[in-house]
């Protein structure tokens, strides 16, 4: 059992490599951020030069982009688990549609007669029921896949049709609108955002979190005598992390409420609006905060718990996982249940944003969710994938879409571009992986 690895000589290693090694930044992450910035600047300057002005890099557009990414991003975090364990879920869009419809009916037809219109509990009950319904659907599909041996592709392809059909039947094809007022806040909009002060609180908490993570990570390494990052690298990570967070806060706070909303708000609260208008910031939208919270929870789940460890083990070698005493079937069922629950949560965000539950809600979402996960580096062969990658992937997809809308591309052209980008991204990823090996 000899170890043939020889330490690489440091003189040939370029400055960039040394930097990457010291900071331990994932080069894939760097690549994705680079691609994202390229897309953003590309659309902005294309608009500025050839079109009617650069609208992409404005607080307003980026704020909207963040809201539009939420629903797909939430589902993409769950899809990572599904794909890592070598499965697929084609039903998420339909599950989103059905759970949104269930929640819509609950808020509009069922609950108001029972507990009164505008009751503050309506939104809570609706959210719980919606997520539970999604989880139940996931349990059922997971059971068919794990315990009845039907391939996930078939079960969820069937699910795509079945749940969409159920959504149509449950409301007879009607659009259910409007949803409960409190519920609607979960979808964003001027009122569904936490405002300037709230955003600063969130931002500062996040900065504290970043520094705490770096600190506790270093403490762990010291405790076990592992190699430490150089101090300058730690400082660099802290500055970049906090800088990005504060930048985001400044950005969302730079997007003011529209004049009409301000006037309505001022009237309701007896504030006199000065002639130059009031500047009331949006701040972070609630769905974005939901996405961030989901992302953090899922990252902890994947990297810090046994559950996550088993997800990766099953993806890497299902047989070995079973021999190590992992109940692979039970894990599969739980993963699909989690996916269903997240689809339910995405249903909350999507229907709240539209302020209604429609039959078209979530159509084709499964494709965007899978594409987001795959662009984010989740390997369809299983065993590899990150939550932050999937969220970034969702952001890339949504940026493309928004950017093309802004510069006035047709829907057909949008589809062609999105499809091509997906294939190209996976090709690039393959090249990257080969090189790393």
């Amino acid at each position: 059992m000899t170890d043939t690895s020889t330490p690489k000589t440091d003189q040939n290693v370029s400055l960039l490599n040394r930097f990457l090694r010291a900071t331990e930044i994932d080069t894939r992450l760097l690549g994705m951020v680079g691609a994202l910035l390229l897309i953003w600047f590309g659309f902005h300057f294309y608009g500025a030069i050839f079109g009617n002005g650069g609208f992409f890099l404005t607080p307003r557009n980026l704020w909207n982009l963040s809201v539009q990414t939420s629903s797909i991003g939430i589902m993409a975090t769950g899809m990572v688990l599904v794909i890592v364990t070598r499965n697929i879920d084609l039903s998420v869009g339909a599950v989103l549609g059905l759970t949104a419809m269930i929640m819509g009916l609950l808020q509009v037809n069922v609950l108001p007669p029972l507990i009164g219109l505008g009751n503050p509990f309506i939104w809570i009950i609706a959210v719980i029921v919606g997520m539970a319904a999604g989880a139940l659907i996931g349990v059922f599909q997971g059971w068919l896949i794990a315990y009845r041996g039907i391939p996930a592709f078939i079960v969820t392809l069937g699910g795509l049709l079945v749940w969409r059909g159920c959504a149509f039947l449950s409301a007879g094809g009607r659009t259910i609108s409007p949803v409960d007022e409190n519920f609607a806040l979960l979808g964003g909009g001027p009122y569904g955002a936490v405002g300037a002060t709230g955003s600063w609180i969130v931002g500062l908490l996040a900065c504290a979190g970043v520094i705490w993570m770096l600190h506790s990570g270093r403490k762990q390494r010291v405790m076990h005598d592992f190699k430490l990052r150089p101090m300058w690298a730690e400082a660099f990570l802290a500055v970049v992390g906090c800088g990005a967070i504060i930048g985001a806060v400044l950005l969302v706070n730079a997007y003011p409420w529209p004049r009409g909303i301000v006037n309505a708000y001022a009237k309701a609260n007896n504030i006199t609006v000065p002639p130059e208008g009031l500047f009331i910031s949006h701040g972070f939208a609630i769905p974005v905060l939901i996405l961030v919270a989901v992302g953090i929870c899922m990252t902890i789940l994947m990297t810090r718990t046994r559950f996550g460890r088993y997800v990766f083990a099953i993806g890497g070698n299902p047989e070995a996982a079973a021999l190590a005493g992992i109940n692979v079937k039970w894990m599969t069922l739980k993963i699909f249940a989690l996916m269903g629950m997240l689809a339910g949560l995405a249903g909350v965000v999507a229907s709240a944003r539209l302020n209604s539950a429609t039959n078209a809600l979530g159509v084709f979402d499964e494709l965007y969710v899978i594409a987001a996960a795959v662009i984010g580096g989740t390997s369809l062969a299983g065993g590899l994938g990150t939550i932050y990658g999937a969220i970034l992937g969702a952001l890339v997809m949504q940026s493309l879409q928004t950017g093309m809308v802004l510069i006035g591309f047709d829907t057909s052209v949008q589809q062609i571009v999105v499809g091509s980008v997906l294939v190209f991204a996976v090709y690039l990823d393959n090249l990257y992986r080969k090189k790393v090996k």
Partner: protein, 252 residues
Amino acid sequence: MTNKGTPLVEMRDISISFGGIKAVDHVTIDLHPGEVVGLLGHNGAGKSTLIKCLSGAYQADAGQILIDGKPVTIGNPRDARAQNIETIYQTLALADNLDAASNLFLGREIISPMGFVNDSKMEAETRKIMQRLNPNFKKFNVPVSALSGGQRQSVAIARAVYFNARILIMDEPTAALGPQETEMVSELIQELKKQGLGIFLIEHDIHNVMKLCDRASVMKNGQLVGTVDVDKVTDEDILSMIILGKKPEKAA
């Protein structure tokens, strides 16, 4: 090695069939503390299948497993581990995408008081055991897919040794190894034997069997040909048991 006292493991009258084919047909074998029992036979003789009944990967259709003379039920790999039975599979059963520590502790992660996996503790423990088993091992932070055959093997062995096994099952542990690494495995087997472990060793190389094993059980077509004391027979005798399926007269 004399077979006195209660055996550590007794697999009594084990049968298991797959789709009408009897992979293991009424086989009885036993193992004493501090003993190495070789399991021999052609490919498809049923050795691995038999042993998988003990490691929990398969469930026997009929028969009994006794540990320290008490019947036990081993329904899955977890049950086997609870009985201090550890297995080194021929395929090594490693999750290629995980690092050495994650593989070593797979299914038995060290958990911090807050309920999270304690990666740095596990890595530290892995470094400790590797220091003992394979001091050259340095690649702790890469997926095991990036390791050489020998390094992967040492991860699989470390996993079996770390958790204080009483019964160790080794399915062709040296099949993928070079001469030097094979020697290390031999030394390890001797050392573990001294510590009082019972070892089932599935092995094709007759010289290894003669060198390492106290007894040898030979299987053919799912049936037990016989069990012999290795020092009372020649390698020719064992070979003829494997090939002809006949037990030598003098050892009967």
